[in-house]
Symmetry: C2
Subunit: 418 residues, 2 copies
């Protein structure tokens, strides 16, 4: 078989099992998740052996320490995967849920039933835990999944997918529900992305480069975010006691996250009081501040920002700072430089808060809270397969419901249309 | 300006007004709809003059009578457009509606607010009323719209869009909210379909050829259905008194509609009782029946179906008929030959009804009701911009809600992530 024939056969088998997965009982799906959690625990030694081979090759190839850390399957990572499976098992199954059930004037009863999307392709980078998370989320929602992780994690992913197959088999669920692309060729991804008759959705997760390349090539709908350029606007009516905790949390708790703070806007009426101590506190946490001229006139620890710093995703302990003269200027700045990911206002002014929530176009808009809350678990979805900043189908964190769609169901008693 | 520059400038101006449209008060939007209804009435003479020019050219080009009928702006069509505007005006505005509002354990209040998609491109064929319907639906949902109707309706559409501009202007709403592509070139559509940074969604409406061509070229997400190959399965436990009315309505009420019946499946246990009189009734209404050998052995009015008749969208008074031996055979037939549009079972058996609703993958699945009910108005959406048989974002008729998405809104009191 050629590579193309292999990939098409794999996608076709995913499509084929997807119709039986759509009506798989919740109990069967949950049993697979429980089995998988147990298998992860029992086979941790083999998993770490496979992972060691990946780590050795990756080190030889000169991957950075940060990259090697993301690739490493420690006991803590394995335990966390098992816990996530257990949490997912306890979440309600969205499939079959009927919403908006109404009776029409002619007596027809019309509802909208949640059903799986079908076949989902996940394309991601180094972390092997995504293999298990994505497979589990897709299974719970009755979707077949095709996984393609980073080539540097290939043996780790193969071992994890192998365990998932054991868990599926043990519960009598077709193993083609979860498939890993069997080769590390980039050409395999290109072939997969052309199968718009067989695959219903592509979710890429990783750096902007990966996501842009997937989007450019895909003939299948893609849900994604390119980057998270998140802002906090400190309004003239901010409670300055709330500022420091929110800004520090947003910037330093996990600077490499997509919901970390990248730009700080401060209203000029509070800037002289608020900015100098805030800047000191940020610098004390190791943050480099790059600001506009006004901000620099207020705090000596702020260096000059270059044009390229506005709207930049640093993913690091760097923050750009701008003093603005009005709410409107802050809003316009966010519209120009934001990435529709997460935007926050700190204010005690009712009208400003309401305007910000209504007017700012981002997947999550917040008042008086850290941008780090834009996360499926934190916002109450229970689990997350990614974050979308595209508006079609899903905007923001994607949980179980976002992996389903709704069909109309109609209960009639012989009605015909007049 | 080159054609490309013109189209890009038009899309850019749509994008630009979309942010102000997103927060336009419902009352302003509704006043535009009321003005437009009034203008249609006042300017019906000019509309018919513009339409006459289109009709004259179309007749010279040899368009069929059916096509000319679809193109014609009669008083009845103009009145129907005005009534539709009035009905739309009375529907609730989905924008700003907050759903799933919950309080998280840390006190954060999290909701999901409906917001417009942004810029929508509509690409459609002859009926000029789509110009007004689509513009009105997009305005009501706070979206900017770019319209591209059939070239044979160009002057009619220009006149209608001109009236819409008057209505927008009278209420102080930017006229770029509704734009018509200013040329009939096909190249203009291709340029538009490449503007994935400016346009958020494309909805093509028309024949399968148009839709396939739009989908193949578009870099923007497309919501569409290629065709409606709808079935009715008469189960062994059907109430035979309900059969004739449902089948006749589904087939003959409007055979050219996408939700009209194209294939009839009859369980063999009831076929000999049910099929002969049903076939006679259909033939009496002018329907040509093409069936399997078993069906032909039961009724002399059924002719032999060719292989190409199974799964074919006739859009005409032709129906294919197949006798099946079980529910499973009917289900598998529908999975193979259906187009995921509308599927119906006629049965009094509780379990069969529930299985059909759960197992059949189509945008609308029905028990004991005509397939003709798969329509936004009939299913209670109030208005419809099209029907989707793709599963992402919308499955089935698309009403006002389907022209919006949901962003997360978060009310905090200073929370940070632990």
């Amino acid at each position: 078989m050629t590579l193309e024939e292999r990939i098409v056969a794999l996608a076709r088998s995913a499509k084929k099992v997807s119709s039986s997965l759509a009506t798989l009982p919740t109990t069967a799906k949950d049993r697979v998740l429980a089995s998988m959690a147990r298998l992860l625990d029992e086979h941790r030694h083999e998993l770490k052996q496979a992972n060691d081979l990946d780590l050795r090759d990756a080190a030889e190839k000169g991957l950075s320490t940060a990259m090697l850390d993301r690739l490493r399957l420690t006991d803590a990572v394995i335990d966390a995967m098992a816990v996530a499976l257990e949490e997912l098992r306890l979440l309600p199954d969205p499939v079959g849920k009927v919403e908006d059930f109404v009776k029409r004037p002619n007596g027809l009863q019309v509802g909208r039933m949640r059903v799986p999307l079908g076949v989902i392709a996940m394309i991601y980078e180094s972390r092997p835990n995504v293999t298990v998370d994505a497979a589990a989320l897709c299974l719970k929602t009755g979707n077949a999944v095709i996984l393609r992780g980073g080539s540097e994690a290939f043996r780790s992913n193969l071992a994890l997918a192998g365990l998932f197959h054991q868990a599926l088999e043990a519960e009598g669920v077709p193993v083609d529900a979860v498939q890993l692309l069997p080769v590390t060729d980039r050409a395999a991804v290109d072939i997969l992305l052309a199968q718009d008759e067989l695959v219903d959705l592509v979710i890429p997760r990783g750096g902007e480069g990966l996501i842009r390349s997937v989007t450019a090539k895909s003939r299948i709908p893609v849900l994604k975010h390119y980057k998270g350029v998140c802002h906090i606007y400190i309004d003239k009516d901010a409670d300055l006691h709330k500022v420091e905790a929110i800004v520090l949390n947003a910037k330093v708790q996990r600077p490499s996250a997509c919901n970390a703070l990248e730009g700080l806007l401060v209203h000029r009426e509070v800037a002289s009081r608020c900015l100098p101590p805030l800047a000191e506190a940020l610098v004390a946490r190791g943050v480099e501040l790059r600001g506009c001229d006004v901000s620099r006139s207020l705090s000596p620890v702020i260096t000059a920002a270059g044009d390229e710093d506005w709207g930049r995703e640093f993913l690091d302990l760097i923050l750009c700072v701008r003093v603005v003269t009005s709410y409107d200027e802050a809003r316009d700045y966010i519209e120009r430089y934001g990435s529709k990911h997460t935007e926050c206002v700190i204010t005690e002014n009712y009208t400003t808060a309401q305007r910000f929530l209504a007017e700012i176009d981002a997947s999550a808009v917040m008042v008086n809270a850290s941008t780090r809350f834009n996360d499926g678990g934190q916002l109450g979805l229970g689990a997350e397969i990614g974050i979308s900043t595209t508006k079609l189908h899903a905007y923001g964190p994607m949980g179980l419901e976002e992996l389903t769609t709704r069909k109309f169901i109609v209960y009639g008693q012989g009605q015909v249309r007049g």
